[in-house]
Symmetry: D2
């Protein structure tokens, strides 16, 4: 099946290219960014002698002429206008931006005015462990944010056991690639190496995404208190969820039970680390309890399970392929 | 004033040497480790052409003959037998181990049988912001653990405002130097770089130390749920404390008010980082609130404020010097 | 074709497992280490839910019963005795140790007494760019060392142009994975991060390997002066070769010409970096000239092109497959 | 003695502030950058509660009114016009830029037109081991570049023993702080961590500086072939010098003899590392020989010995103080 990648310049664009190059069912027929007129090897020198293709200036009609499905690795706002055009041209879309992840009100409160309201109700939240069926019949999938992916996979199994009215805290740590290629003071090696810091505590836009999805999946409302942090690591994400249980339940069993049929969630017997999931689509999860205090610990590759490989899983499901077709499981270890 | 360093081989021993070498009031007259018979330059090659002194095999009578105060940078258990001898010989002691930090019962539950019970009641917990007066007249100071130092300085100002019966969570991150020089798999560069992981969640021995001191200082009992983590950083520590407030109080003001007269706690207006305190005795603290959800964020150098420079502050107070004599304030930045 | 991996515990063993798991022609039928009696997932936790196979205690007859070709990722000396047995049982061998890389005299001078002298003349040095034909008909391939691979691919094209009698210098930098999993002071994160240092200057055992192969391939003798260094990087290797040219020749052209038909050597227009080859079998090479002074710069993944993926290329050739079957080209970027 | 720091925003400006704050003889009376109107704590948040002083917009008359000596941590070209004014106002100058390091012709070939030609003959090259006497009576000292400092201290002792007409190669590695605070792709953590690369091989402007000084000090001409490289390290520099000796001389003795009376050069018995000099003014040097092949290995802190602490040593000498007054010797270890 022919696919297009729109937004090839960034990290998630590169990861999409790499994943699709070795995918047994998808063929890349179109790659675009905002300017075009460059060979993909000049955009990503690591692709020299690997892929020789011209990057186009993104155009919806060209996509429709060449591909059945498009991955949009675009900034929010840019994404919605392009998705709208593609959907009208009957191209399936996996959108890696935030544009179709939220209900309209939540979106407009935290991002900007929405310009493709019609397609919001048709979009499916692309967290395969919870929306597999809906994704399979969707034309538009909103790929979850990296923090929400790791946080929801950790938290959702326990939502029914958490004492209502108590606070849920998420202490999240991300590698710097999560902030993209942008040159910022924080991303300067001299500032980040041998360092670590929180940013936007209680104010990150992934916080409402987590709250909304918990309500949607479990019909429970919790105040989610989310503190993202940068660690001196390029790729990877580690999440600590802290909550208060109603009872001293068997949390290991709950976790095992929830994910026993899910190929890409691995329940671990000890605290998880970043490297075991880096390079893969796995989400590793571990849980511990201190009387009624709950600690759930998850790890993903922020660029893969938090973006590009989860997008390809979604595309697999949308196209009727096996969920695991071409999806990486071999970690960047050592 | 003449001082001895017992336990010169480890990281905290080296930091003590460096601090005392440039201290205006203290003179190092005796350095020992468990074997002796080595020049300090061979133990720590960075001291070549800086300090030329033989390291002795630790002996209490020799210490008493040469020094008025001794810093013990020894493993727990070893420390108490040596401290006992020194105190009997009228040498003041700053003990960097855990041996005199806890009440007898707590100690024996989490460490081992205590062999110097008589001196426990005379020991003072060396957190200067809360025990300055007691330290000033003490003969034996138990230097706090690194995690408790950063956690207590963050948490104590808010203890009276936290809803009773709610859970307090501490998500703590430490550089690998906190685990000492020991060669372990976790400390191998190939395992730690580009990685991060929790260890001993809810089971670390600093957890009861934090609980006990909160009760001691504030007469409040809270279940402290402590999750320590290793980050790919050599020195530094970053703490997230999460708790639930009774009311939506002005947390910034509470923090400012608590530490307005403390030279070595800096209240910050935004999330703290590790590098701004690395190389110094500062504890940087920041606080944020989301309705009744509380986030307190602190940073220290685990080897200095978490061990050696706090020990020298304690020694300053015990000897009647200014708290800040010879105490570093200039960070390892960039 | 069925293959065995002997020596599964180390980094190169893990890389072999990962490569062969996704290889279209080879099937892993036997994995062994020195103790056996462990599941591969317990040896390498990143393989959980990926590969479920018991690791055996290495036994030559078992290998012969189950596999046509064996990869030996064993320490030198251990390797030769095992290879000898396998060859007698008609199993093809790719040996990743040093045991068959050198002529007998050179080997015994720098390593130890050789216990399988008979097979030395039949072994082929597995540098495919220079020995493709010999490898294709070999039963025993000696996989080159990591430093020699990167150094020879850089240096060989220029040997005929270097002024005879002048010194050739190689300033080589390796990630710590090159030293294996062993717990050493140098490999401790606190010692290696924010650090870098040479080790064994002019005394590393890869120095005679480079000298010998230059003589063998080009029939020229040069004094190779080799200085290996450790960098705060897990995987990757960067080489600077410095030499003096006879004439001010067009070095870019020489390099292009040499490798124009080699899929896994990429000639670069600017200085090479480590990350563009990490995760791949590529060797990136760049050359610059300052009058008669020559600088050749090469980069490889020390665990792949410097060990495991080069071993699989050799196995491909030995079995009549395409050189590039199952060989990775997609770098660990970002 | 009152001193001014002009150019307080960069890394070397910050290091000057830190050095001078604890200096027993110098008092900072004026700090400036190009904009002024900011407190130094807002420029460098690590100075909060350490130094409370307004940063001025740089003005020569203000400097002259408040200080006897000025440190210029300015970009080249900006520096010369400011130095000219200060010298006319009888303020002593230590210039950390390149503006007075080179002879006029060399300077104009590699940098730009010189606008203060008159002061060039009066400037002294501030490498104290070789120009101590001249520095002591100078009004204008040109502080050497970081690469030339480490390269010259390594190479100068051996110049007389190197075979004439042979090539000298310098393989130099610098932490990223050497490139300043500028936000560049290379300095982005995701590009530099787990990476390393050469830049401007044979074309860096420190190459003619090294060549010129060798000729000046030793009256010998050598083609210096200089390859700078970036390593994933914040501060520190490691140099490999490779050359060909006339005879198989005792290189250890030559090195020992050269520096036996120099407090800030430490001759090491094994290969040097970066961390042992980080945070100090030391240059560590080691030498090895393979027949006539020579390897000299040096390490400095690029921001201190390569810039700010060497500048303070020069200021000490210019003002008649002891060379080591206020100069740091305690490394950032671990």
């Amino acid at each position: 099946m022919n696919v297009a990648i729109i937004g090839a310049s960034g990290y998630t664009g590169l990861e999409l290219i790499k994943l699709l190059l070795t995918h047994p069912k998808f063929t890349i027929t179109y790659i675009a960014n905002s300017t075009g007129d460059i060979n993909v090897q000049d955009l990503h020198p690591c692709l020299k002698d690997v892929l020789n293709i011209e990057v186009s200036k993104a155009n919806a009609n060209d996509v429709a002429a060449k591909a059945d499905l498009a991955f949009l690795a675009l900034p929010h706002k840019t994404s919605m206008s392009f998705a709208k055009e593609l959907l009208a041209l009957d191209v399936k879309v996996v959108d890696l931006s935030a544009d179709y992840r939220l209900e309209l009100d939540t979106y407009e409160e935290h991002y900007c005015a929405h310009e493709d309201k019609d397609n919001i109700p048709n979009s499916v939240y692309g967290l395969p462990e919870y929306y597999k069926e809906e994704i399979s019949s969707a034309k538009l999938v909103a790929n979850p944010g990296c923090y929400p992916t790791a946080s929801l996979l950790a938290l959702l199994p326990f939502v029914d056991y958490i004492e209502e009215g108590t606070q849920v805290f998420i202490d999240a740590k991300s590698g710097i690639s999560g902030a993209g290629k942008k040159l910022t003071e924080l991303a300067h090696f001299a500032n980040l190496n041998e360092n670590m810091m929180a940013y936007n505590p209680f104010k990150h836009r992934h916080m409402p995404e987590i709250e909304e999805k918990i309500k949607l999946v479990k019909n429970k409302e919790f105040q989610i208190n989310f503190v993202p942090q940068l660690i001196p690591v390029t790729r990877g994400m580690l999440i600590s969820v802290y909550a208060t249980l109603k009872d001293e339940v068997n949390v290991e069993e709950i976790l095992e039970e929830t994910y026993k049929n899910n190929e890409f969630v691995r329940v671990r017997k000890s605290a998880v680390d970043i490297k075991s999931t880096a390079g893969t689509n796995f989400c590793d999860v571990f849980v511990a309890r201190n009387k009624k205090a709950l600690f759930i610990n998850s790890s993903i590759d922020n660029l893969l399970r938090g973006a590009s490989s989860q997008a390809v899983v979604n595309a697999n499901l949308m196209c009727g392929f096996e969920e695991n077709e071409g999806i990486p499981k071999l970690a960047y270890v050592p």
